[in-house]
Symmetry: C2
Subunit: 253 residues, 2 copies
DNA sequence: GCCGAACCGTAACGTACGGTACGGTTGACG
DNA sequence: CGTCAACCGTACCGTACGTTACGGTTCGGC
């Protein structure tokens, strides 16, 4: 046999298998819950027997489909030799924009729907996969950026995980839960760009150091406070020396 | 007949029907996907015929169950005669704490799972109900607080919807999607309290006016910037007059 | 006590779908 | 050309579950 069901979990699917997985993906996006083995076989023009030989069972097919989609969106990790406030801003906006684009895409919505429903069942591997390739992959790529920016003195935070989650919240807000619950929420590219800008500016407002603000070109983008432009300071009681040591664990982990 | 299926959508269920709905709710929380009509009838000690007479069909039962749970968590709207920075902080922290408690509860998770799965199907009434009684109900209760605080000069923002969504994002961050995708994420009450504090302080840091900061007792709670206490200002280009008129529509609606 | 409505428990029906079996076809290889 | 593995198409099986039907029980009204 070409690919055992147990092998496919680690190996790259053959082109024919990729076609089958794309068919499953398309069906998942269009029909949502109607992802039956018969339907996949019909769309992919393959026999159900082949599906079972390749993927073991329905869960195997679902799992392979989710992993296949995840492998398609994998992007190159960012590496920034020079790290200044402009580069940081651009990178954050790019991350925010990418993330908003992903979570509002039909594919992501369908995939997350399936994974959420699956997580309610006994076996919840799909949720883990989606989480691993979504939210945690994002964190893994973004944290080095944040830490590089901190090392460069541009921003300040105790814990990279907490800082990431703040950024995540400012970017995603209520978008994902709303689309998952079926609300039509079509974000145009200009809205996404604006949202990414807003989230980035808010994040920088919370975390940037004085030095970085002085040099920041887009300081006037932040317009939360509109009628009372005023100088204020935060954290007047914080002092310098304990850099890098988080004061307390973030509540997440 | 006592209650037709079409009637129950608007009327309050009888005590016996409430017991049935509670049984369905409990089953939903425990078994997740295994919410079969037989199981509900067995747990509620009623006949399936009665279920169909009361709720029409399976979707009717699901819908009634979701609506029943929603009716149980309805809380009184806040009304604050005096609005100072302490009251605002306390209210925001309360909202944040309540919301985190809700979205991490087993009931909410189970309900959202069912609604999300349902939203993938053709008929997506459950998602709308959950959204209406969750995220939108929260906004409806919180926006008057925000606007009262703005009127009192404590905070500043252009659009209440946008300000709410910022707060929402800072509070929820990645919590809901993670628990929905099956991650075990047990937040203790002290973690929730700390999170509520952090979110509130971050929100205030983004939106408070200078006057409110002067009077704020908890100014030192915000510790995002730790090693560079510095005065900086935002929105130096913003001027006063267009109060209350949002500069552009929020991307949500 | 009698009647009918509401309800319980259970059996039964129909169907959808996961999973399997099997005959027929293709194509590589000798 | 023969062989054999992979694969397609389709028929088939078993089960789970939504839905309906029906006999038996309780209970309020007369």
């Amino acid at each position: 046999m070409l690919q055992k069901a147990s092998q496919i979990e680690a190996e790259k699917p053959t082109p024919r298998q990729q076609a089958v997985l794309d068919a499953a993906l398309g069906l998942m996006v269009e029909a949502g819950d109607q992802l039956t083995m018969t339907a996949v076989a019909a769309r992919a023009s393959c026999s159900k027997e082949t599906l079972y030989k390749w993927f073991g069972d329905r869960d195997g097919l679902l799992s392979a489909t989710v992993r296949w989609q995840a492998s398609k969106v994998r992007v190159a990790p960012v590496d920034r030799a020079r790290m200044d406030i402009a580069a940081l801003t651009a990178t954050l906006e790019q991350f925010a924009s990418d993330w908003l684009t992903v979570i509002t895409s039909k594919t992501s919505i369908a995939l997350n729907r399936v994974a959420v429903a699956h997580a309610g069942s006994a076996k919840r591997g799909l949720g883990t996969i989606v989480l691993e390739n979504g939210r945690f992959a994002l964190a893994k790529r973004l944290k080095p950026v944040l830490e590089a920016a901190r090392d460069a003195g541009l921003i300040a935070f105790d814990d990279a995980e907490t800082a990431f989650r703040t950024f995540f919240g400012l970017v995603a807000r209520d978008v994902q839960i709303r689309v998952l619950l079926g609300e039509k929420l079509k974000l145009s590219t200009v809205e996404i760009t604006a949202d990414a800008r807003r989230a980035t500016q808010q994040f920088l407002a919370l975390h940037e150091t004085g030095a970085s603000f002085e040099a920041r070109p887009g300081g006037s983008h932040l317009r939360m406070r509109k009628d009372v432009p005023v100088a204020y300071q935060v954290s007047r009681s914080a002092r310098a020396p304990d850099k890098g040591k988080p004061r307390r664990r973030p509540p997440s982990s």
